[in-house]
């Protein structure tokens, strides 16, 4: 196994990766910005290197500084976590050229899957159903108008290089198209440095369902699906597995076709294929070529440590697991605890955590990087912790989540804890009678 791994990330995911490394006796290197010097991932790692100032481009996105840190500490592999450089093909390539193992797939696959238009073509070619829309980038307003009248309103404008809901626009009718088309184009340019945008059919009542895979040179397996349909601003808030809305027949087809596609592209590592699900049909959305925020729900039902499997695949090229090793038990739910004020449209709430008490107890897991006295700065993502509860069935998982949320105390900043208490006991959540637009339509806090 690797002797030393550098974690090119911060927050809870850096802590998560450090923990997995430690269990296998792998020495860990944390990198951090100046404002993160006191943070949890720095405290837990065996070594740490300050790589720049608080602006992400100067530190967590600073490839040269990260490579220097790897060189300086003699790290043999780099785990990119999620966000930041995790899906940056150039970074993966630079790491490889330096004789260091990038824990993830090849730069070429990252590039292909990161380009949503190309990813869609690949998915279609390998037998996955895709969403109706423009076959590639849409250059002009006139072209956009033609495409939209063909597929019918409402439509969705998306950035080819985008993600996380940024640069997306819903267009309800033709009269709104010109304005929103131009705004989307300029936002795409600003956020992603690429103004290419494309158009898709917009779904009125979609569920977001995704499949976790592990793949090596020897084989590809799935770790079942996750349902991530409770979202705010197109970002996930609650995730669960198994999905409460899939029939066995549809699940079987979904898992089989996903594994088939991933096998054919020669993928190495952990990955997730995301789908939109509506009216008993699923449509390929995108592939994430990295670990995901919500991976713990899969871990607690399967008993598989996905980060360790990533390390193993990176080291050996193969997955040690077979499909028959994956025997999910019960139901798991994750609530994302964000430093946000849900009553003010999820406005970010940076500050100092004055009181911090994390829930625990039977089948309760908290993945976080917070502690009493820690500072939540305004420079990074608002996710500060994840609460994961496992039950013998969905009802028990909900009851346990409710109990755990009531134990959670965070003072000094606003968080999504109280919102989750309401959501988890809401009739619509209990009955799984909601879609990804639920929170944008209904005021809960």
């Amino acid at each position: 196994m690797f002797k030393k791994v550098l974690i090119a990330n911060r927050g809870e995911i850096a802590v998560r990766v450090i923990r997995a490394c430690k269990e296998w006796g792998i020495s860990t290197v944390a990198v951090h910005s100046d404002v993160d010097a006191e943070s949890m991932h720095v405290r837990l790692a065996d070594e740490s290197v300050c790589i720049g100032s608080h602006q992400p481009q100067n530190s967590y996105l600073n490839i040269a500084a990260i490579m220097s840190a790897a060189d300086l500490t003699g790290a043999e592999a780099i785990h990119p976590g999620y966000g930041f450089l995790s899906e940056n093909a150039k970074f993966a390539e630079v790491v490889r050229k330096h004789g260091i193992k990038f824990i993830g797939p090849s730069a070429e696959l990252i590039r292909q899957m990161g380009d949503k238009i190309e990813a869609k073509k690949i998915a279609k070619k390998h037998g996955l159903p895709v969403i109706e829309g423009s076959d590639g980038g849409v250059k002009s307003f006139d072209e956009a108008k033609k495409v939209c009248s063909k597929i019918g309103y409402p439509i969705l404008i998306k950035a080819a290089g985008g993600g996380g809901g940024k640069g997306m626009k819903i267009v309800e009718k033709e009269s709104e198209l010109e304005n929103l088309f131009l705004t989307a184009k300029s936002e795409a340019k600003k956020y992603f440095g690429n103004d290419e945008i494309y158009i898709e059919k917009y779904f009125k009542h979609p569920r977001h369902i995704e499949v976790q895979v592990l793949s090596g040179k020897n084989r590809t397996i799935h770790l079942q699906e996750r349902d991530c349909s409770v979202q705010r601003r197109h970002q996930k808030l609650i995730e669960e597995t198994p999905s409460p809305v899939l029939t066995e027949e549809i699940r079987d087809k979904l898992l089989k076709s996903t594994v088939g596609m991933v096998e054919k592209i020669g993928y190495e590592g952990a990955g997730t294929i995301e789908y939109i699900y509506e009216n008993k049909k699923f449509y390929f959305l995108e592939m994430n070529t990295r670990i995901q925020v919500e991976h713990p729900v899969t871990e607690v039902v399967t008993g598989i440590d996905i980060i360790k499997e990533q390390l193993w695949i990176a080291f050996t090229g193969n997955t040690a697991l077979e499909q028959s090793d994956i025997i999910p038990r019960g139901h798991a739910i994750e609530c994302r605890i964000n430093a946000e004020d849900p009553s003010r449209d999820f406005q970010p709430s940076p500050g100092t955590i004055s009181v911090c008490h994390l829930p625990s107890g039977f089948r309760t897991r908290v993945d976080g990087a917070i502690f009493q006295g820690c500072k939540i700065t305004p420079y990074y993502d608002s996710l500060i912790a994840k609460l994961i509860c496992h039950g013998r069935n969905r009802q028990e998982a909900i009851q346990r989540m409710n109990r755990s949320l009531n134990e959670f105390v965070i003072e000094g900043i606003d968080t999504t804890v109280d919102l989750h208490k309401k959501l988890i006991s809401h009739e619509k959540f209990i009955n799984s009678d909601f879609d990804t637009n639920w929170l944008s339509k209904e005021k809960i806090i």
Binding site: A339, F346, P348, P378, Y380
Partner: protein, 41 residues
């Protein structure tokens, strides 16, 4: 006006109508809660 925090662009709507008399902050400058950003006439 847009205030960026935690990777989110937050629109700050004006609390009243008026003409912008002066802008007290620069693009990219860090701001705090309760800070005066714009003076309206």
């Amino acid at each position: 006006m847009i205030v960026e925090a935690m990777k989110t662009m937050n629109h700050v709507p004006s609390t009243s109508e008026g003409i912008v008399k002066s802008i007290l902050v620069k693009d990219g400058q860090a701001v705090e809660f309760g800070q005066t950003l714009i003076v309206l006439k």
